[in-house]
């Protein structure tokens, strides 16, 4: 059974959203055709905090993350059941526009995926198509600074983004997501392709960003989860095994499986 230290991180079913949470998952089930990838998962994602999702490969972390901004809509056969509350509305409600959802809940992918365009246009495009009419110059500069990339690229904003290194590309993707000023930022193993220095960059960045954004990160790196996150969800085979404040998960987990996993006694 799941045990929670802080009751506010557990959703109360059939009540309005907790004021502290940015997103609430209530009995979320996700299927790929007939396969169930996520089973009955409920927890709250706290505003201005970093929530980590950990668990062995194939346990449904990416699936769960993608459901939070309806990127699952593009996966053939994917079906989401249950309630995903965002600003007191079910993300999968009838009159919710998924485009609007993705505008407000941004995503950074595992592999850096810059557009084959200039650095500048990578960042300016999202705001432009969403009707941003102020000077994009300032927005580009601000976003790049937030992503700790400005100093490295300020002299070549109109070069192709594909000429950047992998770590720079990933920070560009973060800057691109930030330019939309999303309320929640989802990150699926954002550091898996990066060296330790770039990883440290991005972790520092996350600390700064959480003042303004809510962050959900999927990671295979236990130290990273322990270092950066405030809350941690441990999943296995589609089940949420344990959800708690990160410190608790890594020091005194209440479920044996969690302990085995975070201490590396199990792959």
């Amino acid at each position: 059974m799941i045990e929670f230290q802080d009751p506010s991180i557990l959703p109360e079913i059939n009540t309005p959203m907790n004021k502290k949470s940015a997103l609430e998952l209530r009995k979320v089930n996700i299927f790929y055709s007939d396969n169930q990838a996520v089973k009955d998962v409920s927890f709250n994602i706290r505003r201005n905090r970093i929530t980590a999702i950990i668990g062995p490969s194939g346990c449904g972390k990416s699936t769960l993350l993608r459901s939070l901004n309806r990127m699952n809509d593009f996966v053939e056969g994917a079906r989401v059941e249950g309630e995903l509350l965002f600003a007191d509305e079910n993300l999968y409600g009838k009159d919710v526009d998924p485009v609007e959802v993705r505008r407000r809940i941004g995503m950074v992918f595992q592999k850096p995926n810059p557009f084959p365009k200039s650095i500048y246009n990578n960042i300016a495009w999202g705001p432009l198509i969403n009707g941003y009419s102020d000077s994009t110059d300032e927005l580009v500069e601000k976003s790049l600074k937030q992503a700790a990339l400005w100093d490295e690229v300020k002299d070549r904003l109109h070069d192709s983004a594909l000429n950047l290194s992998g770590g720079q590309q990933q920070r560009l993707c973060i800057a691109r997501a930030l330019a939309m000023e999303p309320e929640v930022l989802l990150m699926d193993e954002p550091c898996s392709a990066l060296d330790p220095i770039s990883t440290a960059h991005i972790e520092d960045l996350m600390f700064e960003l959480k003042e303004r954004y809510t962050i959900v990160i999927v990671t295979h790196n236990m130290q990273q989860a322990a270092r950066v996150s405030d809350y941690t969800a441990f999943m296995e085979m589609g089940d949420l095994i344990e959800f708690n404040v990160t410190k608790r998960i890594f020091t005194r987990p209440s479920v044996k499986r969690t302990e085995e996993y975070v201490t590396g006694r199990f792959g």
Binding site: R102, M107, N113, P114, P116, M180
Partner: protein, 292 residues
């Protein structure tokens, strides 16, 4: 120097030899094609070269070989190809985009896909009959440039669609996801990212298709392009002739001079083709570089 055992280095030598043989074989095949083309061009050139002058380009056809020229056919072909490009590129590219980006991947898409592939193999004369029935007769467009262009467009649409779809397929999904995750609609994503990224590939398909259209004769004969035109078309509703038809007409006459005129016409046709391809390749390279 020896970090592999003797038997290993022997098998390595054999593999190198194999690779060399294979590349020689491929080289030979390539060059035999080139040589054949060169011989053909040479033959055509010595036949037609002495007729090639400004007077030939700037004159209408005539019963007298010395006065005959290719003006109306050349202008007709330029008109025709421009109209075909105007019709077939937007329709073909939009169809490909729709099929790849918007249509579901269900049974109906599959059926459409198979049908388009089959249409690409239908003999051109069949398109000519279709064009005659629909455009010339039913829609009463007469034997005009429009009829010809519509028929030719039908003929090359399958090629443009198939090539464009292949080009669109090579655009990685991750780019689309990146756009969607920024709150872009499918249309915005397709227009701003998918289309530009697949543009070079689409151009290649379009070049190939238009090159085919420029040389096609049968459908034009079928819909009744004229063979003797002593005026220039002034609008899309005018009747016309085209280079391959003029060439065909000259070849079928008994006199040697006209055969030589045909050869000169072929040179002109090939030049137009070459010019077109060069332009398209130039555009493609330019956009490709910008994308990188």
């Amino acid at each position: 120097m020896s970090f592999s055992s003797e038997s290993e280095s022997i098998s390595l030598a054999r593999r190198h030899r194999k690779a060399k043989l294979f590349s020689m074989f491929c080289g030979m095949v390539t060059w035999s094609g080139v040589v054949l083309l060169a011989v053909l061009l040479y033959q055509v050139s010595i036949d037609g070269f002495r007729w090639l002058d400004w007077q030939f380009i700037d004159s209408f056809p005539s019963r007298f070989p010395e006065r005959a020229g290719i003006k109306s056919a050349l202008v007709g072909t330029i008109w025709l190809i421009s109209l075909v490009a105007l019709i077939s590129i937007p329709v073909g590219v939009c169809t490909a985009l729709y099929l790849e980006e918007f249509a579901g991947k269900g049974k109906i898409s599959k059926i459409i896909e198979v049908n388009i592939a089959n249409l690409a193999g239908v003999p051109s004369i069949v398109y000519g009959i279709l064009g005659l029935a629909i455009f010339v007769r039913y829609m009463a467009l007469e034997r005009s440039l429009v009829s010809g262009a519509l028929t030719m467009s039908l003929l090359i649409l399958p090629v443009i669609i198939i090539a464009s779809r292949e080009a669109i397929k090579t655009v990685p999904m991750s780019i689309r996801y990146a756009a969607y995750s920024l709150g872009a609609t499918k249309w915005q994503t397709a227009w701003a990212h998918v289309l530009p990224a697949s543009f070079p590939g689409i151009m290649t398909g379009v070049i190939l298709a238009l090159s085919r259209a420029i040389g096609e004769t049968a459908p034009l004969i079928m819909i009744g392009a004229l063979t003797f035109v002593a005026f220039l078309p002034e609008g899309p509703m005018d009747s016309f002739t085209a280079l391959p038809i003029q060439i065909y007409n000259w070849v079928s006459r008994p006199q040697q001079e006209f055969h030589e005129l045909a050869a000169a016409g072929i040179i002109i046709l090939l030049s137009v083709l070459l010019l077109m391809n060069a332009t398209a390749i130039y555009i493609r390279n330019k956009t490709e570089r910008r994308l990188k």
